[in-house]
C-alpha cells in the first residue's frame, strides 16, 4: 500500500471521525449531567443537516444563514425535549428516561420523514469542490472545514467548561448533583443547558458533514450508534475521550474499508471495539471503576 492512498484513507477517516466525535461529545455532555444515554442524539445530527438543506431550498436562504438557523432550531428542539419529555419525569429510573429518548428519536425521525420525504439530499460544499493535492492525496476543501470547525467547537467547549460560571456549574453537577444543589446550583437549569449544548454540537456536526456524505431523514440511527461507540471507546463521561474515540473510530473504519472491504467496514470497527472493551473494560481514557466497598 502506497503512502498517498494511506494518507487518503486517513484523511477520510479523520473527517468522518470528527463528526462521530462531535456526536460523542453530545452524548457525553448529557450523560454527565443526567447519567442517561440520549438516544435522540443522532437525530440532532440529522436535523442539523436536513434543516440546513430545507432552509436553503425551501426558503432560498444563503448557506451560512441556513446553517445558523438549522443549528439554532435544533438547539431549541433540544430545549423542548428536555422541558417536555425529560424534566417532568426526572426522578424516574435512568432506564425509563433512556426509553423516553428512544421514543423521542422515533418521533423526530418520523416527523422528518413526513416533512421532507425519504429522499437523500446534498448540501453544497462551503467553499468550492476543487480538491487540493496534499502529498499525493486529494484533500477536499470541505474536509478542512470539517476539521477546523470541529476543533473550534472542541476549543469552545473547553473554555466554556473551564472558564464560564455555567460551565463550571455543569461540571459540578456531573461530579455530584446533590452537592451541586446544596451549593445553590440549579440542577434543572444545568440539565436544560446540557440538552441545548448537545443539540447544538450535534447539529453543527450534521451540517458540516452533509456536503460530504449526503443526508436523509434516517442518517441519525447510524450516526447515533457510531457516536455512542466513540463515547464508550474513549471512556464514557470523558469529553476528550469522546472526541478522540470518534477520530479513532473514523480512521479505523476508513482503513478497514480501504484495506479489507467496504462491506465489512462497520463490522471491523465494532470487532475492534469489542476486543478493546474486553481488554480495557472502561474504555481507552475512562476512569477505572473504583467503587469503594
Amino acid at each position: 500500500m502506497d503512502l498517498p492512498s494511506l494518507l487518503q484513507y486517513l484523511i477520510t477517516g479523520l473527517t468522518v471521525g470528527a463528526t462521530y466525535g462531535l456526536t460523542a461529545l453530545g452524548f457525553t455532555i448529557i450523560f454527565n449531567t443526567t447519567g442517561i444515554i440520549n438516544f435522540a442524539q443522532g437525530e440532532f445530527v440529522m436535523l442539523g443537516g436536513m434543516m440546513s438543506v430545507f432552509f436553503m431550498r425551501a426558503l432560498g436562504l444563503p448557506e451560512p444563514l441556513a446553517i445558523v438557523l438549522a443549528v439554532a432550531g435544533t438547539t431549541l428542539l433540544g430545549a423542548l425535549v428536555e422541558r417536555l419529555a425529560i424534566r417532568p419525569v426526572r426522578d424516574c429510573p435512568a432506564i425509563n428516561l433512556v426509553i423516553i429518548t428512544i421514543g423521542v428519536s422515533i418521533l423526530i425521525r418520523g416527523a422528518a420523514m413526513l416533512l421532507w420525504g425519504k429522499d437523500t439530499f446534498a448540501l453544497p460544499p462551503f467553499s468550492g469542490s476543487a480538491p487540493v493535492s496534499f502529498f499525493g492525496a486529494a484533500l477536499m476543501p470541505q474536509t478542512l472545514w470539517v476539521l477546523a470547525i470541529s476543533l473550534l467547537i472542541l476549543a469552545g467547549l473547553k473554555t466554556f467548561f473551564s472558564r464560564s460560571i455555567h460551565g463550571k456549574a455543569m461540571l459540578a453537577c456531573s461530579y455530584d448533583p446533590k452537592a451541586a444543589a446544596l451549593v445553590g446550583i440549579g440542577v434543572d437549569r444545568m440539565v436544560l443547558l446540557s440538552f441545548m449544548i448537545s443539540a447544538l454540537v450535534g447539529a453543527v456536526g450534521g451540517a458540516i458533514l452533509a456536503p460530504i456524505t449526503l443526508t436523509s431523514f434516517d442518517v441519525g440511527v447510524m450516526l447515533g450508534l457510531k457516536g455512542f461507540a466513540a463515547c464508550i471507546l474513549g471512556g464514557l463521561g470523558n469529553p476528550f475521550g469522546a472526541a478522540a474515540g470518534g477520530l479513532i473510530l473514523g480512521v479505523l473504519e476508513s482503513l478497514g474499508a480501504g484495506f479489507i472491504s467496504s462491506a465489512y467496514k462497520d463490522a471491523l470497527a465494532f470487532v475492534i471495539l469489542l476486543v478493546l472493551l474486553f481488554v480495557r473494560p472502561s474504555g481507552l481514557f475512562g476512569r477505572k471503576d473504583g467503587k469503594r466497598v
Binding site: V89, I99, D289
Partner: protein, 368 residues
C-alpha cells in the same frame, strides 16, 4: 413483586386459555399472523426480562440471537436438507453456544459498556446476515424455508403452527417462573442489587450472569427458529439493531421485573404498529409519541399501570360491596345490640334478685 408460585401458575393458565380461545374469535387470517408474531416476540421479551429486569444486565443485541437461530435453521434445513426438527434444535443450540462464547468476556462489563458490547455484537451479526450472500441470501432475504414439521407431523395450517407456538410460549413462561421462584432467581436478583453482597453469600456471579444470558439467548433462538419456519422467508432487516432496541422497549414498557408485564409489553408493541397502519404516514410519529407518553405516565410499565388500575377497580367494587355489607352489618348490629341489651337488662335484674337473695354471695360478674 412476586406473588408466589401458585399465583403465577394461575396467571399462566389464564394466559394460555385466552390465547387458545382468541383465534376463533378473531376469524381473520391477518389477525392470526399478528397474534403469532405477538407470541414470538413475547417469547424473546420474557427471556430478556430475566436478563435485564431481574439480573440487571442490559443487552442491545438480542435481535442477533433471534436472527442467528433463524438463519442457522434456514440454512441447515433448506440448503443442506437437514430434517426441520433437527435444524431447529441446532438453531437454538447455535444461539445458546454463541451467547456463551460472547457472554464470557462481555458479562465482565458493566452498565453502558455491556450495552455497547452487546450492541456491537448485534451489529456485527446483522452485517454478516447482509453480506454473506451465499449463505443467507443477503439483503433480499432467504426464501423457500420448509414449513414446520416435528417428529413427522407436518404443521400445515397456520392455526396449527399458532397453537404450537402458544404451547412453547407457555413452556418458556413456565421455565421462567421456575427460575424466578428458586435459588437461581434469588441469586440473579441479589447480583442485580449488589454484586459484592452476592459474592459474600457465596454466589458465583459470573456463572449466574452467563446462565441467564444463555437462557435468554436460547429463548430468543427458539422464537427465531419458529419464525423462520412459520414465515418460510427471512430477511436481515428483521434482525437489526432497531429490533434489539424494540425488544428492550417491550421489556421496560411492560414493567421490568414482571414476566406478565414483558408479555403485555410485547403484545402492545407488536399490535400497535399494525393498528397505526391505518394512519399511514403519521404512523411512526404516533408510535414515537405513544411510546414517550406511556413511559412518562406509567413509570413502572404497563404491568404497573394495569396493577394500579386493577387495584382501583377492585377497590371500587370492593368498597361498594363493603359499604353495602357494612350497612347491612350495621343494621344487624343495631338489632343485635338491642336484643342483647334487652337480654342484659333481664339478666341484670335476675342477678339483682340473686344478690338480694344471698347478700354475701360471690361475684356475679361471670356472665360472658
Amino acid at each position: 413483586m412476586s406473588m408466589g408460585y401458585r399465583y403465577d401458575m394461575r396467571w399462566l393458565a389464564g394466559l394460555l386459555l385466552v390465547l387458545a380461545l382468541l383465534p376463533p374469535l378473531l376469524g381473520n387470517n391477518y389477525y392470526l399472523t399478528v397474534l403469532t408474531m405477538c407470541c414470538l416476540n413475547a417469547m424473546i421479551a420474557v427471556g430478556l426480562s430475566l436478563l435485564v429486569g431481574h439480573a440487571g444486565q442490559i443487552s442491545l443485541g438480542h435481535a442477533g440471537f433471534y436472527g442467528l437461530a433463524a438463519y442457522t435453521t434456514a440454512a441447515l434445513s433448506t440448503t443442506l436438507g437437514v430434517p426441520v426438527g433437527l435444524s431447529m434444535l441446532a438453531g437454538v443450540g447455535a444461539s445458546a453456544a454463541v451467547a456463551a462464547l460472547v457472554g464470557l468476556p462481555a458479562l465482565k462489563l458493566k452498565g453502558h459498556y455491556l450495552a455497547m458490547a452487546t450492541l456491537g455484537f448485534g451489529v456485527i451479526l446483522s452485517i454478516l446476515f447482509n453480506e454473506t450472500v451465499e449463505i443467507t441470501g443477503g439483503p433480499s432475504g432467504f426464501t423457500g424455508i420448509p414449513r414446520l414439521s416435528l417428529f413427522g407431523v407436518e404443521f400445515s395450517s397456520d392455526l396449527s403452527v399458532y397453537y404450537l407456538i402458544v404451547a412453547l410460549l407457555g413452556l418458556v413462561v413456565w421455565l421462567s417462573f421456575n427460575i424466578l421462584h428458586s435459588r437461581v432467581g434469588r441469586a440473579l436478583r441479589a447480583l442485580h442489587t449488589s454484586e459484592k453482597a452476592a459474592q459474600a453469600m457465596g454466589i458465583d456471579i459470573a456463572r449466574y450472569k452467563l446462565f441467564v444470558f444463555v437462557v435468554s439467548a436460547a429463548f430468543a433462538g427458539l422464537a427465531g427458529v419458529l419464525y423462520a419456519h412459520y414465515l418460510t422467508f427471512i430477511a436481515p432487516a428483521s434482525f437489526g439493531f432497531s429490533f434489539s432496541v424494540q425488544l428492550i422497549v417491550m421489556v421496560v414498557l411492560g414493567g421490568m421485573t414482571s414476566v406478565p408485564g414483558s408479555i403485555v409489553g410485547a403484545f402492545f408493541l407488536t399490535v400497535l404498529p399494525e393498528f397505526l397502519r391505518a394512519f399511514e404516514n403519521v404512523e411512526i410519529v404516533l408510535f414515537g409519541g405513544i411510546l414517550v407518553l406511556c413511559m412518562m405516565y406509567l413509570p413502572d410499565g404497563l404491568a404497573g399501570g394495569f396493577n394500579r388500575l386493577w387495584r382501583l377497580v377492585w377497590r371500587l367494587i370492593y368498597v361498594r360491596a363493603d359499604k353495602y355489607r357494612q350497612n347491612r352489618q350495621d343494621r344487624q348490629d343495631r338489632r343485635d345490640r338491642q336484643e342483647s341489651q334487652d337480654r342484659q337488662d333481664v339478666q341484670d335484674r335476675l342477678e339483682m334478685l340473686d344478690r338480694q337473695d344471698n347478700m354475701d354471695g360471690k361475684d356475679g360478674g361471670d356472665n360472658g
